[in-house]
Subunit: 105 residues, 2 copies
DNA sequence: TATAAATACAACCATTTGGTTGTGCAAGTT
DNA sequence: AACTTGCACAACCAAATGGTTGTATTTATA
């Protein structure tokens, strides 16, 4: 099992997706993310660490508070993978079509 | 920790993404997936079980062989989530623009 | 019929994950 | 100065994950 801390893994956890959702309207500090989350501050902090390590959340200290801001750029990686997969998948049918077209001749 | 077996979790594992990739060109039986994977048949079988449970791979018995076929439809869920997130994220800037436009008056 | 091939099922194992509590420390507030 | 707020760090824990080996079963094939 290799060390893997990528976007795919980051968004795999529902709690982390919830955090991302909360951050979409603007930066929050940890306390605000914790509110109504049903998870302890430390739990949230751990998730933020993961999200930060894979570049999905940037953290900036502001006095004693730490502001968390979402970064969606990395999601490109996920969409790209899906699109590439779909492309290859569709080529499969195109080849089949060509084959059928040839056999008809 | 709730039982979660969704597409997000399914594609989080690199080995499972590798399996999907292999299946894009057409259905394969387990043995063919195992080839050059560096993982035992049982390991692959476990991953296939996960992929099957979340609807990303369909398994059909054919004699003594079991054919595995990719199903990309479920990836919509992932793309949809990303698109929705991006949309909300962009609205944040639109609101800021409107605010700035108003203050200029 | 004996044997090989393809798989299923179960037990096991180390590591990771997702969470907790508890302690301590820095930064504002009263 | 005393107190509160916000957070970091560490230890701990149960469950899940990602893999293994070992055994049994079914299906082709020589």
């Amino acid at each position: 099992m290799i060390e893997r801390r990528d976007v795919f893994q980051a968004i795999a956890d529902p709690t982390r997706r919830m955090i991302i959702q909360k951050l979409l309207r603007g930066p929050l500090n940890i306390g605000q993310i914790v509110e109504d989350s049903g998870i302890t501050r430390q739990g949230i902090a751990k998730h933020l660490k993961v999200l930060n390590e894979c570049g999905m959340v940037i953290l900036t200290q502001k006095g004693r508070e730490q502001f968390c801001e979402a970064r969606l750029d990395k999601l490109d990686e996920v969409v790209d993978w899906v699109q590439a997969s779909r492309k290859m998948w569709n080529q499969r049918f195109e080849k089949l079509d060509k084959f059928l077209a040839n056999t008809k001749k």
